[in-house]
Subunit: 133 residues, 2 copies
DNA sequence: CGTTACGTTTACGTTCACGTCATCTTTCCT
DNA sequence: AGGAAAGATGACGTGAACGTAAACGTAACG
């Protein structure tokens, strides 16, 4: 028995700190596909996994449309070989992008640290008693 | 003699692959402060460094307003100790954010690689002759 | 049996980050 | 002198990603 309780929209909002509008918007954009109990949306474990990926993608600066593509990558089910192959190729592209971004981020971090070291030295000169940091 | 030739707006656009509108917009938002020769904007080496940081920040998903704050970090000149100390504190915050983002990005990369490995196995099953990748 | 709480759809409003005219100067070239 | 090229300043338009308000359904609670 996998923990596959479905959640209401309200529960989702609290769990992920988003608004109902956002979840409905993502559904309209076909990033989420919650099932229905009559009118009401029911979010499964799968939906939660997808939302997690969506929010992460956003933090990395991807657009919702880019994220929509990416979501299928975590989704490579038993589809046709042609489709699977296409998806795999797309994944390679995105992987390269993410690795490039990571490298650039590391560079940025290093530069910022340099700047901070400079600032720390200046602060030390100005007030040798109470150090910086 | 440091290579400190000033550039026109057109030259900047070609060098950084942005439009004139973008540069004027950044100036309006006080992210850039090019000098003037009469009406015309003149972009110094310093402006180019700032623009590079701006574009990088955007790729990391920061808003222009956040970037505007960040820019001062690469800028800690001989200001008052109070100001310098404030800037340093802000830098620490941003550094932490960037490191968190890097860690998350590494995690995301690892997960994506996992998924791709799964896909590669499936592809191999489907067509043992021509491998994936 | 009313009302409170949670959910729905529809539709217009808003912010950010520019794009796209329209309309001037300034400058350089022939 | 005349005209193209580059740059400037408004001002309005646009796509993405939601916010917000209106109007409605329904299920439980006192």
């Amino acid at each position: 028995m996998t923990t596959d309780r479905t959640m209401t929209i309200r529960e989702m909002c609290e769990a992920f700190d988003v608004t109902p509008r956002t979840l409905r918007f993502y559904e309209a954009k076909e990033l989420l596909h919650p099932r229905r109990d009559g009118q009401k949306r029911l979010f499964s474990k799968r939906d939660r996994a997808r939302l997690k990926l969506i929010l992460r993608g956003k933090r990395f600066g991807f657009s919702l449309e880019e994220i929509r593509q990416l979501l299928d990558l975590y989704h490579m089910d038993d589809s046709q070989e042609t489709q699977l192959r296409k998806t795999y190729a797309l994944a390679e592209t995105h992987l390269a992008e993410m690795e490039a971004q990571r490298d650039e981020l590391n560079e940025a971090i290093a530069e910022l640290k340099d700047q901070m070291a400079w600032g720390a030295r200046r602060l030390k000169e100005l007030a040798p008693d109470r150090a910086a940091g």
